[in-house]
């Protein structure tokens, strides 16, 4: 049975962190909401899990993963579940928990990146909160991106198995997610992110190296990789970069 990934079909969004793990591992999966309604897929199939009172463990929001009877929401929880199954996390508990911590920090950074264009309310358009977005984006560029990168740089520098990976000597889902965070920030804030990466050369190397992983490279070159766009989490509004 292939894994079922449920996520909004027109954006990378938070689903992309799960998708990258599935793709890097060469896992068999179905991107349900991108499928045809005639085949029981599409957005309606996703909405069932969110709306039906018969679902015992309803996800709060997409993305979520369905594997047999298991329905798992929250990006970091999905990766916690998939990591050992896909061989994308170490076997011992300390390393697993450390990988999860890194993922949770990435989740925080992603939420903050989202809030640069939606500082007031997700239910409003960007155009209705542009002034506030300009202020929030400035703080994000000047304080938060450097703070997150500086921390990941320390993590890489202190890895006793070398600085090629965040945890141990092998690729983990946290490496894939950090790649995606950097890719998203480079799209949304090319100037500020470019500057921040100059101060975080190990993070920059990790981003470049993950992009060359054979399965990841094949995925990035495929039609399955939806381009970044202004409906997703990472949006390029030139007025927010500097």
């Amino acid at each position: 049975m292939p894994y079922e990934l449920h996520y909004w079909p027109t954006i990378q969004g938070r689903g992309e962190f799960v998708r990258l793990a599935l793709e890097a591992a060469g896992a068999d999966y179905v991107d349900v909401a991108r499928g045809a309604e005639s085949r029981g897929q599409g957005v309606a199939a996703m909405m069932h899990y969110l709306d039906s009172p018969t679902v015992p463990h309803p996800p709060f929001a997409p993305p979520f993963l369905v594997n047999g009877k298991a329905v798992i929401g929250q990006t970091a929880a999905i990766l916690l579940y998939l990591g050992p199954r896909l061989g994308l996390v170490a076997k011992n508990e300390v390393q697993r928990l450390w990988t999860h911590q890194l993922q949770l920090a990435i989740a925080d950074a992603v939420m903050e990146a989202h809030d640069t264009h939606h500082p007031i309310a997700t239910g409003l358009y960007y155009e209705d909160q542009k002034k506030e977005a300009a202020r929030r984006a400035k703080a994000f560029r000047e304080e938060r991106i450097p703070k997150f990168f500086d921390w990941f740089e320390s993590v890489l520098a202190r890895n006793p198995r070398g600085s090629a990976c965040l945890v141990g000597g092998r690729l983990s889902y946290a490496d894939l997610s950090l790649f995606q965070l950097v890719a998203g920030l480079l799209y949304a804030f090319p100037l500020a992110t470019g500057r921040a990466l100059q101060q975080a050369p190990l993070v920059a190397s990790l981003h470049a190296r993950v992009a060359q992983h054979p399965h990841v490279a094949a995925y990035l070159a495929s039609a399955r990789r939806i381009p970044f766009n202004e409906e997703g989490i990472f949006r390029r509004y030139p007025e927010l970069d500097d």
Copy 2:
């Protein structure tokens, strides 16, 4: 060896979610940053883990837990680690992961509650972002609090073991955290939260019941429970409630 909890000493903040679990379980722990520097405690002892290049797994921010060699940051990851050790989570993987998902949703709600008074930047004072805070708080009160409560209400209603707990038939760390979320929201937004609880009677009952748990009640009545204040995550600014 007692667990070491490291968190800012003058607020409940995110540390409170960990503290409640330790207290409810009657665990032996030290609240390090509240201790005396002369005994090797205090804020300096906490900052060591954040600043020293000798720490292999540096936390991104407080709270973090130290247990022997393990240093674990991120509230939800700390509870993932403590849950089985404190008997505050079910034994099987599906229930554990579901409990963790609930915790991650609570973490999202906590971050959103924080951003009502700091919608622009954590580095600025509330007074420097009051106008934006008013707009963000309105959306939080009208859309987000009801959405979170509605979801937790469904989770409680669908629990096959009854609606007294979020997961299974026994108290879990997610119940303690939902109690704390509701308590914080009642402090910060008494009017809006009171209205929302009327639509979520199972959530309201859970909040009342957890407060009566013997260990929790004893803790809440003790000097260890710092009162909510306007330096924490949940702040009462009457102009933000309605």
